[in-house]
């Protein structure tokens, strides 16, 4: 069909020079990509590469600092989700932006520019049929299983006359059956001439679905490839890039184990077993949602353990992933935040000795090169890196034998990162066992003795850091134990 061909080849969406920063950190630096009608276009990249931010900018829920977006070759301004809706752009968020206490029908018509003056059943039914969702329009969303909610969200986008549909990690919480159903729908939509932007880092899905893929790294576009003419290795290589050679770690002599985990199973983890030794840094790699943070929660006693055992020969400390949400008291001072776990040590019969508090913090602050106007300054005056150092100081003061660091350098500047690496080295040298989660593979390779790769709550691969490469780790995180690693 000649007409069909022309439709397929037409570029419907072109984004160029898109930049966005949060505070001092760039999420996107001049990213660009183009999407054609009738194709599934994958947006790929490591955690934090900027894929989701780029999708949200196109959908109008985040505003770019700079850059241009063209629809059908015409430059447009997308300042809000309503603008995007008018232009025929729909987005299905990873965390589905549905209203759980409203009904399916209400979720479709709410905020919908096209639904005015129509009966709900008559308006909604065609779209529900289109996505293959057999459900009453009066059914509350909270009673729908997650897979059907996904379909409802797509029906909603279709009902808003979307021609370009962005999907952010759509299978992250779907069962295999539900995922298969979604893939079928995506193929149908593609054949009908819709443009699908599929944000994911799951390699197998992308090879099955996508026609082309644009790879982002550190907020910039690395390139766009045709799926039939590329390989997993090439994509992984584009995603992790050529980083500087990592200086070999000094070998640590085998010491006694300080933490033994056997068959640990929680709602998110499946049969995780490993040993951590005195003076060892065990790196934990994995994509977001692979169970890396949940491992910390389970070790720290915050998650219920279904089966398996944790045998720790020392206290376990946990520096959580989200320092603002899980770590710090933003209205309290630097000193108050850092001594929170050791108040017993600086108090006598419940009365605090401020001089002893300050004396406890001083050497740790010096070691960490903590930079703050005064220890009495409220935390919201500090930079992200220094806030992170305050959180670390809380645990350094507590002197745990095992420390779980969950992405401790996320969103902080290079100098602060170096200070934190040095601290990890020193702690390990002092005999502590460190579990280090990181999204940045060079960082894991730089700091760890061994590396565990988690995927879907299981250990997908284990490497000695000296044998590991970014490509191997990335492949294991995305595919499971697909590329053979030097086991340990």
């Amino acid at each position: 069909m000649p007409t069909g061909e022309t439709v397929r080849m037409a570029t419907v969406l072109a984004a160029a020079g898109i930049s966005k920063h949060y505070g001092g950190v760039y999420a996107l630096k001049g990213a660009h990509f183009e999407v054609r009608a009738g194709e599934v276009h994958a947006l790929m990249g490591e955690n934090g590469a900027g894929k989701s931010t780029l999708a949200r900018i196109v959908a109008g829920s985040t505003r770019a600092d700079s850059g241009t977006i063209a629809i059908d070759g015409r430059a447009v301004r997308i300042a809000s989700p309503v603008d995007a809706q008018r232009l025929g752009i729909g987005i299905i968020y990873q965390e589905l932006d549905l209203f759980p206490s409203l009904t399916a029908g209400e979720n479709i018509v709410i905020g919908n520019l096209h639904a005015a003056g129509q009966r709900m059943e008559a308006f909604c039914r065609p779209y529900l049929d289109q996505v293959g969702l057999e459900c009453e329009v009066r059914r509350p969303v909270s009673s729908l299983p997650i897979g059907q909610r996904q379909l409802l969200a797509i029906a909603r986008a279709l009902s808003m006359s979307a021609r370009i549909i962005l999907m952010d990690e759509p299978t992250s919480s779907l069962s295999e059956d539900a995922a298969e159903r979604l893939f079928g729908l995506i193929r149908d939509l593609k054949r009908s001439g819709f443009a699908i932007v599929y944000v994911s880092h799951k390699m197998d899905e992308i090879f099955r679905l996508a026609d082309r893929a644009t790879v982002l790294r550190d907020g910039a576009t690395v390139g766009t490839v045709e799926m039939p003419s590329t390989s997993a290795e090439e994509l992984i290589h584009m995603m992790v890039g050529r980083q500087l050679a990592v200086t070999a770690r000094r070998e640590r002599t085998a010491a006694d184990p300080i933490l033994m985990v056997r068959g640990l199973t929680t709602t998110m983890l499946k049969d995780v077993s490993f040993e951590l030794r005195h003076g060892e840094v065990l790196g934990i790699a994995g994509l977001v949602g692979s169970g890396r943070s949940e491992l910390g929660a389970a070790l720290y006693g915050l998650d219920r353990i279904v089966s398996g055992s944790i045998e720790a020969r020392a206290a376990i400390g946990l520096v959580p992933e989200d320092r603002r949400l899980q770590g710090l008291m933003m209205q309290m001072s630097v000193l108050e935040n850092s001594t929170l776990r050791v108040l017993g040590r600086v108090a006598r019969f419940g009365w605090l000795d401020r001089r002893r508090e300050a004396a406890e913090l001083a050497p740790v602050a010096r070691d960490l090169a903590l930079n703050c106007p005064s220890v009495d300054a409220p935390l919201n005056r500090l930079s992200g890196g220094n806030q992170q150092k305050v959180l670390l100081s809380r645990w350094l003061l507590a002197r745990p034998g095992v420390l779980f660091l969950d992405d401790p350098t996320r969103g902080i500047d290079v100098g602060a990162k170096q200070d934190i690496y040095r601290m990890i080295d020193e702690l390990a040298a002092g005999g502590a066992g460190i579990l280090l989660v990181s999204s940045e593979l060079p960082e894991l390779l730089r700091c760890s003795d061994r590396i565990l790769v988690l995927r879907d709550g299981r250990i997908a691969a284990r490497y000695y850091a000296r044998d590991a490469t970014q490509e191997k780790i990335m492949a294991a995180a995305a595919f499971g134990d697909f590329i053979d690693g030097a086991r340990c």
């Binding site: 959580p320 710090l328 008291m329 108090a347 605090l352 409220p378």
Partner: protein, 319 residues
């Protein structure tokens, strides 16, 4: 920077100074030309009048700092007045101290129940203390058969109790001592630090391994204890145990805390601010009454003052 920070901290104090100056300026004069507002008798009257709400608002500050609220304080006060009056007027005990102890301990127990339910069920403090506001009021009315229990004016034990505990020096002194203790506990103790940490970021407090439940039970129990103590003073002052006493006291206490700069969302606030907030309300009431302002108008003016006081403090809020 430091000067601005100081000014910001002193905002509620500035407001208090403004209201005091206004009160002096518009005060009616006595026969000898002196301003009635400034007479020693009037100033100590103000302190005495604010003492009950003042005492309650000290523990309310702790509760609000944890991110909670306690609506049951007025009902607990009523229970306490009833208990102390019953024990004394009906001769259940021959010791004033025992009667007071019974009333305050029962009040503390009510607070501990509030805290226990909130800590165990993670229900919203608003809902839990709303329920106990209703339930404890019912309890107070039930044990008294909804009757006021008069404390004798004669020479019995009850009369002795009333005569002692309605003394200005005792009432104001109780408030001063409680304020000093609560100020020190918040500023200088491990418990005070826990209170602020839990309210600032409960999730982080959990990750830091702080005793969140214990801290919550304690703040509500303290709130119960102080409401009970205020109830004892109320009974002495009014010569009666009154199961209908203390209605809307929770709102006055919350207002004092909020005017004093404590954030309703928790984590930030101070006892000194609450004391200033209580004084602002007290001086304002006194000023308006000295000038014979209608008590309904007085409420409207108070409403404006509350909104203004909080609005001014928001100016300096960091994003």
């Amino acid at each position: 920077m430091r000067a601005i920070a100081l000014l910001r901290r002193a905002q509620s104090l500035t407001a208090l100074a403004g209201i005091v100056i206004l009160a002096i300026a518009i005060s009616p004069t006595a026969g000898d030309g002196s301003r009635i507002f400034l007479q020693a008798g009037n100033l100590t009257d103000i302190l005495r009048q604010i003492s009950l709400i003042g005492i309650i608002s000290l523990a309310m500050t702790f509760v609000i700092l944890t991110g909670g609220i306690d609506l049951s304080v007025g009902s607990i006060l009523a229970l306490s007045t009833s208990l102390v009056a019953m024990w004394l007027a009906r001769g259940y005990t021959q010791h004033i101290a025992v009667a007071i102890l019974v009333a305050v301990a029962a009040s503390g127990a009510m607070g501990a129940i509030n805290g226990g339910v909130i800590a165990a069920t993670r229900m919203q403090p608003f809902v839990v203390t709303l329920a106990s506001m209703i339930g404890v009021r019912g309890l107070a009315k039930w044990i008294t058969s909804n009757q006021n229990i008069d404390i004798g004016f004669g020479r019995d034990l009850a009369a002795e109790f009333a005569a002692t505990f309605r003394e200005k020096a005792i009432v104001i002194g109780s408030y001063a001592v409680a304020a000093a203790i609560f100020w020190l506990v918040l500023a200088r103790t491990v418990f005070g630090r826990h209170v602020r940490a839990v309210g600032d970021n409960e999730r982080a407090a959990e990750y830091a391994g702080l005793p969140i439940r214990r801290t919550k039970i304690w703040v509500y129990m303290l709130s119960g204890l102080l409401s009970g103590a205020a109830g004892v003073l109320y009974a002495a002052e009014n010569h009666q145990g009154n199961p209908n006493a203390g209605v809307a006291y929770e709102l006055d206490a919350i207002a004092a805390v909020v005017i004093g700069g404590t954030r309703l969302s928790g984590g930030k606030g101070s006892i000194s601010g609450t004391i200033v907030g209580t004084l602002i309300m007290g001086v304002l009431t006194n000023m308006l009454r000295l000038n014979n302002v209608d008590s309904n108008v007085e409420m409207m003016i108070k409403a404006v003052i509350i909104v203004l006081a909080v609005a001014v403090q928001r100016e300096g809020k960091e994003s």
